[in-house]
């Protein structure tokens, strides 16, 4: 090894020094002999000559000595690299095309890979993040629902597959007593949470078990960000108290900066056990979720079985309504990535296909060049180059080109990645962490070398087949254009066309889906609609009456503002996501089985909401003032729910919806109206069944006030802020956005994916066009003589066109057939990304096919023109 290293050093840069040193040494050697000869009495001139004779051939000695330094393989490798670089300089346009092709495809692949790596692969920034498991409960209908405190306690203490477990629940509380009231985000956690996530305090301490028990003194840990922004970054903050929703909590610690759990911002951590620990019912669901750290070697299945066994034992000892609930467990990395996974994998495959096209292009270009070099190779073989040596040289040349392409690609990837992060949707977890780090660099290097090897193999394979005598004798540039070479190049073109068709089809589908989603019937009128998201501090608005009173007054005040035509209240605005789902049943219908209770989203709205949002009423009536808090309880349902249960929305009226289904507690509501479906979860989301509580009968402190304005809703924003602050300055505005913003944001991801896939589709088309052009051009060049002869003996231009055109058409048709088959197969994969159209869309297939044909025709037109305009006389003369 050491010997090896010193050889490399010598080979690289000590070379010249060593050479000089060696001749000095030999010169000194000669001097010594000369001096001895003089001592023996020889005349100086003769003494020197005698010394030379005795020493031997100086140059030969130096050469032999140098061989001892050399590292033959390495030296030839360097030589091949030099040769490759010389080749690049010799044919700059060829090299430019190859290098640009590689740079584009390697750059795109590297950028997407860095996103995929960061979002899907990179271990979470917690100790043993790869063993973290997300825990919840599961029923026959829904999986991953919240865990009850009692169940969690039993899981935590009785399991034997987890090293540790922690529960957490989110909450929003109003911070008062430090300037204006602000809404803060809390995460309630068990004391084990901080061990599990490995976070350390920057100041003070974290929770201990005594903090985490019912009846403990209220304590709080602030995040570094909150400490800076809301607590003034005071180093003595530990021991002070903060008032959250009217309760005073003592600050015991501040977390170290840059700690992030899930994607949401958190201001304060509170002990969960203190708040929830007094719960005793096994069916008492809040919004508790849990994380567990699997023991090393334990599998997810083992863990699930383990927790299920605990659930079954609990069901025996303490029977309740949820005895059929089971444990839900899934790796944290997967849960974090969620549905981005499919999008990213589709993008990665698309960009991988682009790389294959690039590879095919480079292979066919190299093949064309190596055929032109057949004579050079034949000469090399003739004067004794070994086959292995030739192969190594050709491969090294390609890899040099690939390495240059890869390096450029890396630059490109850095730029692409920055753009991606700028335009990427904010809600993709860990997207912001994507960077050109070691794994990504390794990936780029690996694909560069792989492309170099793959593309380089084509000419090598060809070189092995060079027929010496023909190549030397023919001596024409077309020497060595065998049938095999043509077949190979044709295969490459067919593959390129097929892949391009697949990408064109996929990006077409996504573009079509985006258009469909943008044009989707929202079910309401999002224009000139402003949404003010409010959260009343519970300490100030304890009673339902106070909540009703507040929102009633605010609505009246806002309605009085000029430019505001209507004001309505809703808990979850369209496009703002859903408020949650729950079981229901219809009393007038047969009781569903335990496992067949249907689910529906729920929402809360006041009498004015449907009017203010301009939602169509399909049957019955709106809520009105007569639906009083103590009156008979009523609900409005959406069309989807109505059609799910009845053939006609009219039939729903007067029937009764039991919230919670037959097996759970919940109010019974009379259905008084049916409204249109709206895009609750987003424009491109499925329209789910929904029922609305009347705000008067189920007031909520968190509501969104929707304003219908006469003009631009942005102009009413100041008025909205003023009115909210005038009514009670302790009520914070959580957000103030137009409904169009709410809706538009739901398409962010779709736009992102569509843009990227569209780009890759375009890149594929460009590369394929270059590839088709290159191959046909070569085909024409190789047949120039044949064409010239045909023309000379009287062939018409049209028949030449037919000859060349037939060749091109055959390739295109075969490629399109294969591409169509591939696209049809891949469509199943795209189903979850497609909206408003079917994934297996024949129209889109036709369109994609037509696009590819147009591109192929454009790319083929130049070579075909050349073929038909061959100057027969000149060509034959030259030959």
């Amino acid at each position: 090894m050491r010997e090896w290293w010193s050889k490399i050093c010598r080979a690289l840069h000590l070379r010249r020094g060593l050479d000089d040193d060696l001749s000095d040494e030999m010169e000194a050697h000669l001097d010594l002999i000369t001096a001895e000869n003089i001592e023996r009495g020889m005349p100086p001139g003769e003494a020197r000559a005698a010394a030379r004779r005795a020493f031997g051939n100086l140059t030969r000695m130096q050469e032999k000595t140098r061989e001892a330094w050399q590292f033959p393989r390495f030296e030839t490798f360097l030589q091949d690299i030099r040769y490759g670089l010389r080749g690049i300089r010799r044919s700059p346009s060829f090299s430019l095309v190859v290098i640009l092709t590689l740079a584009l495809s390697i750059g795109a692949n590297t950028a997407i890979f860095s996103v995929v790596y960061s979002v899907l692969v990179r271990p979470l920034p917690y100790p043993s993040g790869e063993r973290l498991v997300w825990l919840g409960e599961s029923t026959a209908k829904a999986s991953g629902i919240s865990i009850t405190w009692i169940n969690f306690e039993h899981w935590h203490h009785d399991n034997d597959s987890f090293e540790n477990m922690a529960a957490f629940a989110g909450e929003d509380l109003t911070l008062t007593g430090r300037g204006d009231a602000v809404l803060t985000h809390e995460l309630l956690v068990t004391s084990s949470f901080f061990q599990l996530t490995g976070v350390r305090p920057a100041l003070g301490r974290l929770f201990t078990d005594p903090d985490d028990t019912p009846g403990a003194a209220p304590t709080v840990v602030a995040t570094a960000d909150c400490w800076q922004r809301k607590l003034g970054g005071d180093a003595n903050v530990v021991g002070e108290s903060v008032v959250l929703d009217g309760t005073s909590y003592q600050i015991v610690g501040v977390l170290s900066p840059r700690f992030q759990f899930l994607t949401g911002a958190v201001d304060f951590y509170l002990p969960l056990g203190r708040a929830a620990g007094s719960s005793h019912k096994r069916s008492d669901h809040g919004n508790i979720r849990a994380v567990g750290l699997l023991k090393p070697g334990a599998t997810l299945t083992q863990a699930r079985t383990n927790l299920d066994a605990i659930m079954q034992r609990l069901a025996l000892n303490d029977p309740g309504p949820e005895d059929d609930h089971r444990a839900y467990a899934s790796y944290f990395t997967e849960v974090m990535a969620g549905d981005v996974r499919t999008t990213l994998l589709v993008l990665m495959s698309a960009v991988g296909l682009v790389l294959i096209i690039a590879c095919a292009n480079v292979a066919s270009l190299l093949l064309a060049r190596s055929t032109a070099r057949a004579r050079e190779i034949a000469v090399r073989v003739a004067i004794g180059a070994g086959r292995a040596r030739l192969v190594r040289q050709l491969l090294t040349e390609t890899i040099v080109i690939a390495a240059i392409g890869g390096a450029l690609g890396l630059l490109l990837a850095g730029w692409c990645l920055r753009t991606l992060l700028l335009i990427g949707p904010r809600d993709i977890p860990r997207l912001a962490e994507a960077a050109l780090d070691i794994p990504v660099l390794l990936f780029a290097a690996a694909i560069s070398v792989a492309v170099g090897l793959l593309a380089g193999l084509a000419p090598v394979w060809n070189a092995g087949k060079v027929d010496l005598t023909t190549a030397l004798k023919e001596g024409s540039p077309t020497a060595g254009t065998g049938r095999r070479g043509q077949t190979f190049r044709s295969t490459l073109v067919i593959a390129e066309i097929a892949i391009t068709l697949m990408l064109a089809f996929a990006s077409g589908l996504l573009v079509r889906s985006l258009i469909a989603a943008q044009r989707a019937d929202t079910g309401f009128d999002p224009k000139n609609l402003l949404a003010i998201e409010l959260q009343l501090p519970e300490s100030r608005y304890k009673s339902d009456d106070s909540v009703r009173e507040y929102y009633g007054q605010l609505s009246r005040n806002l309605r009085a503002e000029p430019g505001v035509s209507d004001v309505g209240l809703v808990m979850c605005p369209p496009g703002g996501g859903d408020c949650g789902d729950f079981w229901y049943s219809i009393l007038e219908k047969p009781t569903p089985g335990r496992d067949d209770v249907p689910l529906s989203l729920y929402n809360i709205a006041d009498a004015n909401y449907f009017r203010a949002a301009r939602m169509r009423l399909l049957a019955g009536r709106n809520f009105n003032e007569l639906d009083r808090a103590n009156g008979s309880r009523v609900t409005m349902i959406n069309e989807r729910l109505a059609r799910q249960e009845w053939s006609d929305p009219q039939l729903a009226l007067g029937q009764h919806l039991k919230v919670g289904g037959p097996y759970m507690e919940g109010p019974t509501l009379e259905i008084i109206g049916v409204v249109a479906n709206i895009s609750q979860e987003g424009l491109d989301a499925e329209r789910s069944p929904t029922f609305y509580y009347a705000f008067s009968q189920k007031p909520s402190s968190a509501m969104v006030v929707t304003l219908r304005t006469n003009g631009d809703p942005a102009q009413s924003m100041d008025a909205a802020r003023r009115q909210v602050s005038a009514l009670d300055r302790n009520v914070p505005i959580q957000s103030l956005r137009t409904a169009e913003d709410w809706l538009g944001a739901t398409l962010q991801r779709r736009r992102f994916a569509t843009l990227l896939l569209g780009l890759f589709g375009g890149l594929a088309m460009l590369l394929a066009a270059v590839g088709i052009y290159g191959v046909l051009n070569y085909w024409v060049s190789a047949r120039q003589r044949e064409i010239a002869i045909r023309l000379a003996i009287g062939a018409q231009r049209s028949s030449i066109l037919r000859l060349a055109g037939l060749h091109a058409t055959r390739l295109a048709v075969i490629g399109i057939v294969f591409g169509a088959i591939g696209a049809w197969g891949a469509a199943r994969w795209l189903e979850s990304l497609v909206f408003g159209v079917t994934a297996r869309n024949p129209m889109m297939m036709l369109l994609a096919g037509a696009t590819v044909i147009v591109i192929a025709a454009l790319a083929a037109s130049v070579p075909l023109w050349r073929a038909t305009h061959t100057d027969a006389v000149r060509n034959l003369h030259e030959a």
């Binding site: 050491r2 010997e3 010193s6 050889k7 040193d21 060696l22 000095d24 040494e25 030999m26 000194a28 050697h29 001097d31 010594l32 002999i33 001096a35 020493f55 031997g56 051939n57 030969r60 000695m61 130096q62 032999k64 000595t65 061989e67 001892a68 330094w69």
Partner: protein
């Protein structure tokens, strides 16, 4: 052509012997290439004739293995020359090689000229 060895012709070095002999020649003191070849010729009573075309590459190999190091110095008669010196590693190597070669020589002798 005579099949009997011509005593007037110098012996050729067997594979690997020159390196050991160089190490041996540096055992007592550093020396330059010419000195080494002189030493080997004199010690072998001119049975070995050291060819510079073998000596220099052999020195390079020993340098690469870090068995010897080199340094430019003035010779006793005030001439500049490159002196080679044994490293501790080379010294260890010499001891090992020496015993190996001694065993080899004795074994060869026992086989070729058995003493009755």
């Amino acid at each position: 052509m005579s099949t009997v060895d011509d005593p007037r012709k110098a012996l050729e070095f067997l594979q690997g012997t020159l390196e050991v002999l160089i190490l041996r020649s540096l055992q007592s003191a550093p020396n330059h290439a010419y000195g080494i070849s002189q030493f080997l010729e004199q010690q072998s009573e001119y049975e070995f004739l050291v060819d510079n075309g073998s000596l220099y590459p052999a020195l390079q190999r020993l340098l690469q293995r870090r068995w010897i190091t080199s340094q430019w110095k003035k010779s006793p008669n005030a001439r500049r020359a490159k002196y080679y010196r044994l490293t501790p590693l080379g010294r260890k190597q010499l001891v090992a090689a020496k015993s190996k070669w001694m065993r080899f020589v004795e074994a060869m002798a026992r086989v070729l000229a058995p003493q009755r």
